[in-house]
């Protein structure tokens, strides 16, 4: 998206290559571009047209009911921004992002710290923690759906029904469905985060912890001043992936079944507008509205990942 326009080949190579003759280097660069081609074609090539289409459509009056398609400039965005419903949806979406991401991080960090300590049965528990992410989402979403929203008359329907009404009574209709989507997302995402952070913890040299034990007074202090800074690149990547997958397609579809009115979410509403109502132009504008936020998160991630000393670009 916006990131694509930033592609500017021409920044200097990062490590000075001593003793490399110019012609050798030139051949190396040619080989590098050749090797890069399949991946770039697969990713940027496949997405270039769809992204351009979406941006273009958001600037037109394209809808299934409209007689003609004409260029309308930023009118769709203006309508969207003037819509109080949009701001409510945006607020819900941001809160949803933040809450699920924080929960995933908290659970993920806790699980990773728990698993980092050697003990009996650790391998088994590690496999259990890995399972929510490794088990295909198509199954586990159904599992959660069955658990929290029993579809038929089953032995536990009544008990769950009581819960549902209690939650909806307090927080508004659809709250229960909304919460179940969030719970599923946290359950699956925290598993990925935990394993990811465990890999990060393994990367920290043991001597550092031994040294920190001498220097700091409490485990909490050690965590804040030693573990956390060293885990930063892992945390950054985990947060970003959590952002982008917060609305994985499955949850999206499930979300359509409930919680849509009281807890509108930008992605879900865009899907609704586009697929159910045929308002493609507006739907495109809605779904693109989150891109600036995500790009901002991406910029932070890149800064944390390729620190300035290595990135003169």
């Amino acid at each position: 998206m916006g990131g694509l326009t930033q592609v500017r080949p021409g920044s200097v190579p990062h490590r000075p290559k001593q003793a490399l003759a110019g012609s050798v280097r030139r051949r190396e660069i040619l080989v590098a571009y050749a090797l890069l081609t399949p991946a770039v074609l697969l990713v940027l090539g496949v997405l270039a047209y769809p992204v351009a289409w979406e941006v273009w459509i958001s600037l037109t009056s394209f809808a299934s009911r409209a007689e003609s398609r004409s260029f309308v400039g930023v009118a769709n965005y203006r309508t969207m921004l003037a819509d109080a419903f949009f701001w409510r949806a945006l607020a819900t979406t941001v809160v949803y992002f933040v809450v699920t991401t924080l929960a995933k991080l908290a659970v993920g960090v806790a699980l990773a710290l728990l698993l980092a300590r050697p003990c009996r049965g650790r391998a088994l528990v590690f496999l259990a923690v890995f399972l929510p992410w490794a088990y295909p989402g198509g199954v586990t979403v159904v599992a959660w759906y069955w658990m929290l929203n029993p579809p038929l008359i089953t032995s536990y329907s009544v008990a769950v029904g009581h819960w549902k009404h209690a939650v909806d009574g307090v927080a508004g209709a659809g709250a229960y469905t909304f919460a179940s989507v969030a719970l599923f997302n946290i359950w699956r995402g925290a598993s990925f985060t935990a394993v990811f952070l465990l890999a990060g913890l393994n990367a920290i040299p043991r001597e550092l912890f031994d040294y920190a034990r001498l220097e700091t007074r409490s485990a909490a202090q050690r965590f804040r001043h030693v573990t956390l800074p060293l885990l930063r690149p892992f945390l950054a990547l985990a947060v970003f992936l959590s952002f982008t997958t917060a609305f994985a397609d499955l949850a999206n579809v499930w979300m359509l079944t409930g919680g849509r009115v009281i807890f509108p979410v930008v992605g879900t509403y865009a899907y609704w507008l586009g697929i159910r109502s045929g308002e493609f132009a507006e739907a495109a504008a809605w779904s693109l509205s989150l891109v600036p936020l995500l790009l901002l998160a991406l910029a932070v991630l890149f800064r944390w990942f390729d620190p300035p000393r290595e990135a003169p670009a």
Partner: protein, 287 residues
């Protein structure tokens, strides 16, 4: 002493709790799928007293309709779907890993001008919203002649998994000491041989990490599979069971997805250790 023992018990209890939390939903759905309709209504939700595999057997019962009470339910070509899923998963893995390794080696080791930005550009595609993306994507697939074919899914899954794979693989190659290859070149190996025989085996764990990430991406998809594959004989398990109107309401469907998940989860469990090691290896000097 007693304090240490208490801490150990606490740690053990926490681990047990974590295991239950992680596995419970999968256990729960498996229990439901083993129940008879009677027990589904009158039994306990937490265990199955009288297990039956009828829901699983139903998947392999072959063509023809099944009658339950007054309802006629269509049968599904489940074995075919399993085979299709395996084909799509396998091909996505091959495409992603081959393209990913080549690109990662180019970016991490050869470092052409602007490599950092290429890597970032690939990764930036994760901000593309998927909501209505499939409309233009469908146009692309038709232009490529890939509509209603496995190629469509292989293409999309590779597109989705590649940026992360390139990211971790290139981080690994970037920090691999150059001397390792140079010594092979001195011995008379060509660059390609040096890469295939020495560098690639060394990055085994990172490859495992990339592969499992791809498996996770493919396994999680449901929407693209059900949109792009319309012919029942070409569908994958996710697509097929997903488009059945009653999918989420039917124990047979639950049994089906569960059955398809078992080999995937087993493979992931076998490679889990390599996955963690690979991520560590890729990111250890990542920042």
């Amino acid at each position: 002493m007693s304090r240490g023992r208490l801490a150990r018990w606490g740690h053990g209890a926490a681990l047990a709790l974590v295991a239950v939390y992680s596995v419970f939903p999968i256990y729960f759905i498996t229990v439901q799928s083993l129940k008879t309709p009677q027990e589904d209504v009158f039994g306990s939700p937490f265990y199955v007293a009288d297990p039956t595999v009828e829901n699983y057997a139903e998947l392999f019962a072959g063509p023809g309709a099944r009658v339950r009470g007054f309802v006629v339910l269509p049968r599904v070509p489940f074995v075919r779907w399993l085979a299709n899923s395996a084909v799509v998963l396998g091909a996505s893995l091959v495409v992603t890993l081959v393209a990913g390794v080549l690109a990662a080696y180019a970016l991490g080791r050869l470092q052409p001008p602007g490599w950092l930005w290429w890597r970032r550009a690939l990764f930036a595609t994760y901000v593309v919203p998927h909501t209505i993306l499939f409309i233009p994507l469908y146009q692309v697939l038709i232009a490529l002649g890939l509509d209603d074919s496995h190629g469509a899914l292989i293409l999309i899954y590779s597109t989705m998994a590649l940026p992360f794979c390139v990211w971790i693989l290139s981080a690994y190659y970037r920090h691999l000491p150059r001397e390792i290859e140079e010594s092979a070149l001195v011995e008379g190996a060509t660059p390609a041989t040096a890469f295939l025989r020495i560098v690639l085996p060394m990055s085994r764990n990172v490859l495992v990490a990339a592969a499992l990430f791809t498996v996770g991406t493919v396994g999680n998809d449901f929407m693209f599979a059900s949109i792009f594959l319309l012919d029942p004989t070409r569908q994958t398990v996710a697509a097929g069971l997903g488009v059945m109107d009653v999918s989420l309401e039917e124990l047979v469907a639950v049994a089906g997805v569960n059955l398809a998940a078992i080999p995937v989860a087993t493979a992931c469990a076998l490679f889990a250790r390599g996955y963690v090691r690979g991520l560590t290896a890729a990111m250890v000097e990542g920042a």
